[in-house]
Every structure is written in C-alpha cells, then in structure tokens.
Amino acid sequence: MAGVFSWGKPTEGTTPSIGLETTSSVADVNPVLADLLMAQASVLEGAAKDQGLKLKQAELLMAEAVEGFGGSLRKLDSLAREQYGLSMELRTVLEVKLDGEDGTQSVEQFTATILGTLDLFVQAMLEIGQSSFQLVEEMDGIRATSESMVSSLGELAEVAQRTQMLALNASIEAAHARQYGAGFSVVAGEVQKLADRSGRISDQLALQVRETEAALNRTNTQVEIIASKDLNEIIRSKQLAQRMVSSISQSELRAQQLVVQMEAIGRDVKDQVARSIQALQFEDMVRQILLRVTQGSEHLSTFALRTRSLAEAVASGTQPLEALLVQATRDFLVFAQDEHDSVKAASMQSGDVELF
C-alpha cells in the first residue's frame, strides 16, 4: 500500500504531527518521503541543539563544582595555617624557660628552687635566733661576773683608802718619834705609795669593768638586731612563690584549651578535606556526563546530516527508492549501534564513579 505523508511543522509549545494519505502513484511518494526525511532531520538537529544547551549547563555546573573545590582548598589552607600558629603558641607556653646558673630551668623548677631557698633561709634564721639567746645568757653571765667584780673593786678601794689612812697615821707617829722614827717613816711612805698604786689599779679596773658592761650592752643591741626579723617579708615571699605556682597552673590550663582548639580545627580540616573529595567526585561525574552528552550530540548531528542527505537524494529522484531505503536502514542501524555503545560505555563509567 502506498500513501502520502504530510509534515506539520511544530510551533512553540506543540509537538510535530504526521498525517498519512493514500495515493495511487509511486512517483508521488518521493516528494512526500523527502519531506518526511527532511522533517526527521530537523527534529534530530533540534535534539542535537538541545543537547548542546544541556552541555553548556553541565559545563556551568562543573565550573561551580571546581570553584567549590577551590574554595574548600583555600579554607583548608587557612585552617592549616591557623593550626600551625596555635601549635607554635602552645609550644611557647609549654617550653617557657628561665636562665639559670647551670643552663636553663623550667618555671616549676625555678619555683621549687625559690621555696627551697626560703626554707633554708628560715632554718638559718631559727638557728640564729636560738643561738642569739644562748649568747644573751652567756652575756648575762658575764654581766653578773662584772657586777661581782665591781663589788670586789669597791672593797679593794676601801682597803686602799684605809691603807692610805694607816700610812698617813704611821707617818705622823714617825714624825713624833723624830730621829727614832726615821726608818718607820720610810716604811710608812712606801706603804702610802702602795696604797696609792692599789687605789689607781682599782680605779682602772672599775673603769675597765664599766667599759666591759658598755660593750655587753652594745653587743646585746647587735644581737637583738640580728635576731629580730619581721616575718612578714618571708610570708610575702612565700605567697609570691605560691602565686607563681598558680600562674604555672593557669598556663597549663591555657595549654589544654589550645590543644582542644587545635583538635576542633583538626576536625574542621578533616571535614573540609572530605568535602573536597566529594567535590572531586562530583566533578568527575559531571565530566563523564558531559562526555556522554557530547557523544550523543555528535551521533545525533551525524544521523541528522545523513537523514538530510537521504532526503535530498529522495527529492532529486536520481537514485532508486529501494537503494535509498537500504541506505536509510543502514544509517539507522549505525546510529542505533552508536547509541547502544555510548550508553553501554556510559554505564560502565558510571559504575566506575560509584566505585570511586
């Protein structure tokens, strides 16, 4: 049965329509078939154009994916730098060193040294205090002895005074005896000299005892100065050392906080890396879709070109219709085979993406 095909060209928002009318002339078939093939070529070209637009959209999506990936990498770089800075700060906090005589000391060691020194100072102070009162008691003993000496010197002075009186009386009596008392007068004179000398020695001793007592008083004052120290300074020093220990504890706390922050940043970095990998997968998927669409578009364009050539050959009527039908069938089979291969390849690549 022969017929005539009519092609209704599509308008905006409508689908193309095909009509079939019967005819009795084979020669009339060629123009109709040519129109049909030409319309088919137009549809195929439209589809190829549509795929081209989708290809553009896919390219935009891919560009966005690449931009997102770049942003993630920049964020990753920023976080890595911040983490490095915090690491440096943490290291500085944990490795605070003070110059010591034998190299370096940690703050903790330095604090222990200060407390140890204070304890030694306190111990020495207590020993000095205890020894001071032993010294005080020794000086009290010396002072008592001095007072006893003063008493003895008083008696000595009294003896000297009486001896002088006795010598004076003896001299008077010797004078009364005139020439008979001359020898006695010499003895009385010598006794007088001895009494005078004894008196002077007694006075010198009394003076030395007073000087000794004055020296004891001065020594007592010095001992008091040495032994009497206000303990408030020691209390303040110990409190200072304790504040240093507290400061060390705060530093350790700060270090722990920094470690927590670093851990949080580490988690952020990990998340960002995961997102980067996802973005990389998306880019790969889009790239495969683009490849598939490109291949499909190329197949469509080729098929449309072949169909248009076929339509032109039919319209010219220079070739037998049977030969053209064979050519059309071959072209369609080639297009169908290409499409099948393309879909199959795309499916395999899609599987690869899922594995990735």
């Binding site: 304890d119 306190v122 102070m125 207590l126 000095i128 205090g129 205890q130 020894s131 001071s132 009162f133 032993q134 005080v136 008091e224 032994a227 009497s228 120290k229 206000d230 303990l231 020691i234 209390i235 110990k238």
Partner: protein, 102 residues
C-alpha cells in the same frame, strides 16, 4: 609586764599575750623557767591564743627554751595559736620542731 602561769597537776601553762619579741625575753624566761623548775611539772604549754605578734627572735626564744625543756626531759607544746601567729608558725614550718595543738 610578766606572763601569767597556771599549773594543773603535771601540766604548766604559760599565757603569752600581746607581742613576743627580743625585749620580751626577761619576762618569757622568768615565766618559763619558773614552770621548768617545778619538779611535779612534766608538760609545759605555751598558750598563744592572746598573742598578736611574734618576730623571728620570738621563735629563737621558744627554740632556746625547748632545748632546756629537752635537757630537763619535759615536754613543750604550743597551744591555741591566734590566726596571725598560726600563719607565722605555718610559714616557717614550726610544727616540724614543736608540737602545735589547736
């Protein structure tokens, strides 16, 4: 000003008041030695509940007396130190040398 002393059986308590410093030694010695010289007394307490201030010489004074108490084989202890005095005793670790009772 002398320091008051109270004897209860074998225990003598010397009540230290005000400030204890170098100049207090004669009164301190008089009170503590009178307690030490009592044959029946075996324990001597230094009550510091009314003591407001003590310097390093006071600590030396007490240690000096502790030496005498040890020689006499009698026990010496500080009792009821005031807060100010307790701070000083704690700073110099005095409890390592003499018993301190609250």
């Amino acid at each position: 000003m002398g320091f008051r002393m109270q004897v209860d059986h074998q225990c003598a308590t010397v009540f230290l008041e005000g400030r204890l410093a170098f100049g207090s030694y004669p009164d301190f010695r008089a009170a503590t030695m009178s307690a030490l010289d009592l044959p029946e007394v075996q324990v001597i307490h230094l009550d510091m509940s009314s003591l407001d201030y003590m310097d390093s010489s006071a600590l030396g004074m007490i240690l000096h007396f502790k030496q005498k108490a040890d020689l006499a084989k009698k026990t010496l202890a500080i009792i009821r130190p005031s807060p100010q005095v307790a701070t000083v005793l704690k700073v110099v670790n005095f409890d390592r040398l003499i018993s301190i009772l609250p």
